[in-house]
Amino acid sequence: MNKSILTAVVGAAAFAGLGAAAASAATLDDVKAKGFVQCGVSTGLAGFSAPNDAGDWTGLDVDLCRGVAAAIFGDPKAVKFSPLSAKERFTALQSGEIDVLSRNTTWTMSRDTELGLNFAGVNYYDGQGFMVRKSLGVNSALQLSGASVCVQTGTTTELNLTDYFKANNMTYNPVVFEKLEEVNSAYDANRCDVYTTDQSGLYSIRLGLSAPDDHMVLPEIISKEPLGPAVRQGDDQWFSIVKWVHYAMLNAEEMGITKANVDEMVTSTDPNVMRLLGKEGTFGEAIGIGNDWAYNVIKQVGNYGEIFEANVGASTPLGIARGVNALWSKGGLQYAPPIR
């Protein structure tokens, strides 16, 4: 009873932006008791969380939740998805309706503090990018001076665009629209040379153009939109589980452990691999789950590179390049602390 009142009060306080303290602890116990992870996803975003023909959820954000389920239960299907609108998402987490929010949510300071969330990592470094026609012969955003740019008005995208061009002493003609659909059709109808919005969005917009292959996304990213999974504040154990599932996927990629070869790697004598796969130490027990947690994540879901390729990578219709999402050892930003 006390716990219930506390949760309600905390939730209401957090909603009002007054700052939140500890929410109900021991999410892991609740999850184990009910037998599945309740995961908040988007209502449909290509490559991140979208239904396939069979009606199953697929995507990068979805696979993170499947990874958490695999770590706890050894079964990536022990997860239920709640599709959430952008407005609902934080309430759903604060009120305990979901256990983890994996919904292309940007990690910002106010969300991390005032809203009472803990971001468990960044599973996709997004940011504002530019798309142009290949026929324009441009391969860097710095060559765009004088171009007409299609942009949605009243968004931070518009502000970033102004700042970027000003900072680089370039000029541009803005072609602004209220709605995303209008921007899409204007760009497709050749009313502007450049389309700018978040880069992951550009890739899915490109698919809806009448000749997708005539367009390319430029490599520059001009703003920071780190997207990652979030959990409630006040439950450090649960926070650790989600965080380390993400890190385990990254470490696995770095060590070359894949879905296919994980069974051979179990016999490896490399101490790093042995610690990751639970052959040495009790790292799983330390966060309240089995020592073979990472083995299950890799075996059932895959390493980070694999889920990236399967959901958004070059082999998918989206064809997003790894770019800044490559491992740190390959020139990207994805870096996981070691397991020891």
């Binding site: 309600a8 209401a12 109900s24 979208a50 239904p51 396939n52 069979a54 599709p83 305990g96």
Partner: protein, 377 residues
């Protein structure tokens, strides 16, 4: 006299055979002249409309039929310079559009529920079929229980939580529950608002004005965003149930005002006559005033029903996927994103909505003719 008879050269003994009307007044030509080219102004308008049709229809036909993609497995089949509708998308996703994420091996339960509904609905809709009372009992008491057992999975059936329902299933559940609950509730509220008992009257007025005063989208939004904050963490109110309650209360307020309009249109003499016959208030209402009031406002009632049916799409904002919601969601499947996918999906959704709304509209027109309300006054 005889002379006279003989002096007549020709006497017609039988009627002349009836001649058909002139060619210009009958058949196709006659119809055209009477309906399309009766006057110069009509002729001009007819030709303009004809030109408009020639201008509009062939491209639509081309888009929807000749250039459409009927078979395919992914977006690659729907890409090309001249491609029309991507019906392959609808085909691949059809199961989801109808059942949402309802488990495939359990979908027979939805089909069975639909069949049980039709079994009850068809005979009650046909005035000539007897056993109306038994039929109503089946439809209003037996069927809802069976539907609840089948759809949610009681009595040993595999439970399917409502978050997995979707598509047409959710649209119909929300619309039918809304219609069935709002009708009797609306009657009670309409009577309550006309009542002379102050508490009942006040309650009815407050209820109606409150629900009419807030947008449905706000009601749904409050139920999904605010309500969970005030409930204990371990009590979770089913989302679909929240939507059902919201929609039902909302539409009953509208229904109440429509029915009150009917009650007010009945001459005072009818109420007085019912009283003079010694009928109690409920008897008079049931036998004299309410039947008249309801037949008067059939168009208004059906209007509310159709509006409610289409409003079900708003449940999308609380993360429930009705037909339109699930179509939109599937447009984000990277396997199917193409320039024609959104248009195809929306046309399909519009078509399904049209079938249901047009059906309701035709049935109400039929009932109006049968009850002959149009000619009474």
């Amino acid at each position: 006299m005889d002379n006279q008879k003989e002096s007549i050269a020709f006497l017609r003994a039988a009627n002349a055979p009836t001649m058909p009307p002139p060619v210009s007044d009958r058949g196709v030509i006659g119809w055209l002249r009477a309906n399309l080219f009766a006057s110069p102004r009509d002729s001009v308008l007819s030709i303009l409309v004809l030109l408009l049709l020639v201008w509009v229809v062939p491209p639509i036909f081309k888009w929807a039929v000749t250039n459409a993609v009927w078979n395919g497995t992914s977006r690659d089949d729907c890409i090309g310079p001249e491609v029309g509708a991507c019906w392959a998308f609808v085909k691949a996703k059809f199961g989801q559009f109808i059942y949402g994420r309802y488990p495939i091996e359990e979908r027979w339960r939805v089909n069975l529920t639909g069949l049980l509904l039709i079994i009850g609905l068809v005979p009650i809709a046909m005035p000539t079929v007897p056993y109306k009372r038994e039929n109503a009992v089946y439809l209003l008491i037996v069927f809802p229980i069976l539907a609840f057992i089948l759809l949610t999975g009681q009595l040993g059936l595999e439970p399917v939580e409502t978050s997995r329902w979707g598509g047409l299933l959710v649209t119909l559940v929300v619309a039918i529950v809304g219609i069935v609950v709002s009708f009797p509730l609306g009657i009670l509220l309409a009577l309550g608002r006309r009542s002379e008992m102050p508490v009942i009257k006040m309650f009815s007025i407050i209820f109606i004005e409150f629900w009419r005063g807030v947008p449905l989208i706000t009601v749904l939004f409050m139920s999904s965003v605010m309500l969970p904050l005030f409930l204990p963490a371990d009590v979770s109110f089913d989302k679909l149930l929240r939507a059902l309650i919201g929609v039902a209360l909302f539409s009953s307020a509208y229904m109440a005002e429509v029915i009150r309009g009917g009650l007010q249109a009945i001459p005072k003499g009818q109420y007085e006559a019912a009283n003079a016959m010694g009928l109690t208030f409920w008897q008079g209402t049931r036998l004299v005033t309410m039947p008249q009031a309801l037949t008067l406002v059939i168009p208004g009632i059906v209007n509310t029903f159709i509006g409610l049916f289409k409003d079900t799409s708003l449940v999308l904002i609380i993360g429930l996927f009705d037909l339109l919601g699930i179509v939109q969601q599937n447009m984000t499947d990277p396997n199917w994103i193409s320039p024609v996918t959104p248009a195809t999906g929306f046309v399909f959704a519009a078509f399904v909505f049209f079938i249901f709304c047009f059906g309701m509209s035709r049935y109400s027109a039929y009932m109006e003719r049968r009850l002959d309300t149009g000619h009474k006054r």
